[in-house]
């Protein structure tokens, strides 16, 4: 009997070692030995309490190992860490790597049809995986959701979300909330109608779909004239945040299609909005729209950070967003009430956001754009901040964000829908209004005012995620390859290391056997390098790899 019990326990042990529970995921933000969530916690704060690396000793940071992705596309994936194994994705593979030695444990290739890149708007990429119950979950460019065995990399289940051919692709890292695998879709530039899906973690069974563009009979459908809702866009390509106490998922929704707003007169719900969802059913609890009837591609998919902060002296559960439209929003996440919305970059399309109505007060620039004139608008269609995730340091109450410092030229033109083609309705010649100086700043932003406590410029803007730590250090990367550390109080640069290709990845940190490690993916090829025409990047080679750093041991 004893022997039988021992055998049973032995058989279960590996399962226990592999099985990330819902409880573990909920505590992800305070788990210093693992990185279990996209965003380093359900709140997406990308802040670590580990302070072994601090602003005084970060100058002694050295590489520990480098792992080649054998992939020369843009590397925007955030690695996860569990029990000394890193799990990381590219567009072309999922990999498990030993965290200490950098040796590959397994690699499972992603095979998609050669036609797929035809309908991928802005870089051949993947943004990461989710980890739950012994499985790795990821999405693929040809719109599949896949579960792999975390131990072996073998496929457990695969579900096709939708036929990719008319413009649907998937790059998002899934979210596991209340045991449901939740995924979003890209493709608003192709005249699609997009959605968020829920999947059963064990079997892959499709549980629910919430369209971001309401269909006939659904609330909000009246904000779309005629059949424009069928091509209304509303992408969902960045992982939502999750409040386990409120059982609510917060997901950012992308731009309407086409860009030409005259085609779709009305507010165009739920484009450029935040949706608060029930993870079990996908039901919308509340919504808030940042940019109604948006002409300027002010896509609002980027991270919705959760924090508990003091508002008018009262501890308040908020959700924060540095929106593409140039305003920094703070909302009460229990009900969607707008608490603050202030510009964090140069903005000329709206003079302010009315806190009573929650609506922007548009300027004459936007009126002229709507009338069909060519205008110079701030921010440009790349936004005040693009997709690259910011970090929120709750100890300092500051959001560290890579912001963009340029405007754009905008002119709406006629457009006809053709399946699988770009559906923009915007003149693409002469798009950018570049400044003479820096095109980007890393800023330490006060959420309630939008004001920067400090900013550090970059001639070529940064498109890397940001990580901040209790060691008073802020980490970020440059498109020219430098991985950098800054003083969280002053923005002074403390350390830099050349990673060999441009950084568009999402840095993470964890502690193992008494050592704090920092990891980031390097590999150029995302939206700025494709569309900016910035030929200063010519000397930056492609080539994806994962770097891991720690303090030099004397």
């Amino acid at each position: 009997m004893k022997r039988v019990l021992a055998a049973a326990v032995a058989a279960l042990l590996p399962l226990w070692a592999q099985a990330q529970t819902a409880g573990e995921l909920t505590k992800g933000a305070s788990d210093q030995h693992n990185v279990l969530n996209y965003g380093m916690g359900y709140h997406l704060q990308r802040f670590s309490l580990i302070d072994q690396i601090n602003k005084d000793n970060v100058k002694d940071l050295v590489p520990v190992w480098n792992y080649s992705y054998d992939d020369n596309r843009s590397e925007e994936s955030q690695p996860l860490v569990y029990n000394s194994v890193l799990y990381v994705t590219t567009n072309s593979a999922t990999m498990a790597v030993d965290a200490k030695s950098g040796r590959q444990i397994w690699k499972t290739k992603v095979d998609y049809p050669p036609e797929t890149p035809r309908i991928v708007c802005c870089g051949i990429i993947n943004r990461g995986a989710a980890l739950f119950d012994g499985k790795i979950y990821r999405t693929t460019l040809d719109a599949n959701v896949v579960a792999l065995d975390a131990k072996t990399g073998k496929e457990v289940w695969r579900q096709n979300a939708i036929d990719f051919k008319t413009g649907y692709s998937m790059t998002v890292a899934p979210l596991v909330a209340d045991g449901v695998i939740i995924t979003g879709v890209s493709g608003a530039e192709f005249g699609t109608r997009l959605f968020i899906d829920g999947w059963d973690a064990q079997t892959g069974q499709h549980l629910w779909r919430t369209y971001t563009i309401p269909g006939p009979g659904e609330p909000g459908h009246e904000t779309w004239p005629g059949d424009t809702w069928q091509h209304g866009g509303g992408s969902t390509w960045i992982t939502g945040s999750f409040d386990p106490e409120l059982h609510t998922v917060y997901w950012g929704i992308g731009n309407p299609g086409p860009f030409n707003a005259a085609v779709r007169k009305g507010d165009n719900l739920y484009t450029d909005s935040i949706l608060a969802l029930d993870p079990k059913t996908g039901k919308i609890k509340w919504h808030y729209q940042f940019s109604p009837n948006d002409p300027f591609d002010y896509d609002s998919v980027a991270e919705m950070i959760l924090a508990d902060i003091n508002v008018d002296g009262k501890p308040t559960k908020v959700v924060m967003d540095a929106n593409r439209n140039g305003f920094f929003y703070v909302l009460d996440r229990t009900n969607g009430r707008l608490l603050a919305a202030n510009p964090y970059v140069n903005v000329n399309w709206a003079s302010r956001i009315d806190l009573e109505t929650g609506r922007p007060v548009e300027t004459e620039i936007t009126a002229r754009a709507r009338a069909g004139e060519k205008v110079t608008v701030f921010p440009s269609i790349m936004g005040g901040k693009n997709w690259e995730p910011m970090s929120f340091n709750p100890q300092k109450g500051l959001a560290y964000a890579n912001t963009l410092n340029f405007g754009g030229h905008y002119k709406a033109i006629a457009v006809e829908y053709k399946a699988g083609d770009w559906y923009l309705g915007m003149d693409l010649a002469d798009l950018w209004d570049w400044p003479n100086g820096p095109r980007g700043y890393l800023k330490a932003i006060e959420p309630m005012t939008g004001k920067a406590k400090w900013e550090t410029p970059s001639d070529i803007p940064r498109f890397s995620g940001v990580l901040s730590t209790a060691g008073n250090v802020v980490f970020s990367g440059q498109l020219t390859g430098e991985f950098e550390a800054f003083d969280a109080d002053t923005g002074a640069k403390l350390w830099s290391f050349q990673t060999g290709s441009g950084i568009e990845g999402q840095p993470i940190t964890w502690e193992q056997d008494g050592v704090q490690y920092v990891a980031v993916s390097s590999g150029i090829g995302g939206v700025y390098s494709i569309f900016s025409g910035d030929e200063r990047l010519k000397g930056v080679p492609a080539g994806g790899s994962l770097w891991v750093f720690a303090l030099h041991r004397k």
């Binding site: 020369n72 596309r73 843009s74 050669p114 036609e115 797929t116 890149p117 035809r118 991928v120 708007c121 802005c122 051949i124 530039e189 699988g420 083609d421 770009w422 693409l428 010649a429 798009l431 441009g502 150029i524 090829g525 390098s529 494709i530 569309f531 025409g533 910035d534 030929e535 200063r536 990047l537 010519k538 930056v540 080679p541 492609a542």
Partner: protein, 117 residues
């Protein structure tokens, strides 16, 4: 010496122009393709913006890190261009043969040969 040298360069240049002419622009044009080069370039520019710019950059301006800089595509090698566009390449460039007609690929080639100027 100088004269001979220059003559050699001129002959080479002539040969190059002839070669370019034969392999580049004067191949038989598919049915439906506009006759005028200017029309083909204009049509190619619009097709490029629609189908190619989301990887190769607006107006072909691209740092060339991840996808080829089309301004550097050899202007005397139409066949390579047509083959690559039609069938794709290296499992990176997607095939367009089922989307674009021969006349459309011909127009794209006319545009690519301009180097975006």
């Amino acid at each position: 010496m100088i004269g001979r040298g220059l003559g050699g360069v001129a002959a080479l240049a002539l040969a190059l122009i002839a070669g370019r002419s034969a392999a580049g622009d004067d191949m038989p044009r598919p049915a439906g393709a506009p006759d005028s080069k200017a029309e083909r370039v204009q049509s190619g520019r619009a097709l490029y913006a629609q189908h190619c710019s989301h990887c190769h950059g607006f107006g072909m301006v691209n740092a060339g890190n991840v996808v080829p800089d089309l301004r550097e595509f050899p202007t005397d090698n139409k066949q390579r261009f047509v083959d690559t566009v039609t069938h794709g390449k290296n499992n990176r460039m997607p095939p367009w043969g089922d989307v674009l007609s021969s006349a459309e690929i011909d127009a794209l080639w006319a545009y690519v040969r301009t180097g975006g100027k």
